[in-house]
Subunit: 148 residues, 2 copies
Amino acid sequence: MFLFNPIGFVESPYKESSEIPKGLGVKHDAEGVLKVLPEFELGLVDVDGFSHLFVIWAFDRITGFDLTACPPSDNRPHGVFATRSPRRPNPIGLTVVQLLGRDHVRLHVRGVDMLDGTPILDIKPYLSSVPQETLRRGWLAEAEARKA
Amino acid sequence: MFLFNPIGFVESPYKESSEIPKGLGVKHDAEGVLKVLPEFELGLVDVDGFSHLFVIWAFDRITGFDLTACPPSDNRPHGVFATRSPRRPNPIGLTVVQLLGRDHVRLHVRGVDMLDGTPILDIKPYLSSVPQETLRRGWLAEAEARKA
């Protein structure tokens, strides 16, 4: 059993889950701020040099989970681990954001898909490793093809 | 405060942290298994269609953290959130693995950099979004250039 405390909170334009763009081909270009708690400011040194960051966060307004999910991008159910459904056994979210700039403990970013006030658990540099041409996108590619 | 329980455990060839390849240009191609607990098997339906997965896991053999870290890929300290150091405020690890195949609750994968027995917190499909040419890699690119 693991116990985590927030290292900061997201400032997002989204106050309600219904406002967050979802579904096939959706682009997340909303801007927001990752506001890190003052005691962790030293941990942000040199973050500025990266164009993109992983943000690991908690779905703090979700209770319970389902083993299958019908994502907005498809009308068929899939195993929850094959989706980004918030109703997961451990309600952990993962978002890749573009870093626009840092002002002390405030990281200005593009690409937030979290609700305002979402607790941040960790921030890591994004270092892509997987060449685009070796990537298979499972049911999502099929769902896209069906809608095309 | 968030409480997470493992959804499974990693079977890895690495028994000790010193055995895990580290540093600049290292390639993680070790094979291993993500063994999901039987009660979550239904959550794996359709995972098979993805070539790569995100694995979110816990550094369960680490206590304490540092706000700066000297990664093996550089001899200069950086803020912990600009590194993948295990000594983080929340000891959460993130690995992209290639899925080789699934046998019920066992996901055979390539690219493990976790220790044997590492608790898995979540699995998500990997859907790359960031074009290679827009990526900046901060101090890591500099450290690579210094060693080249």
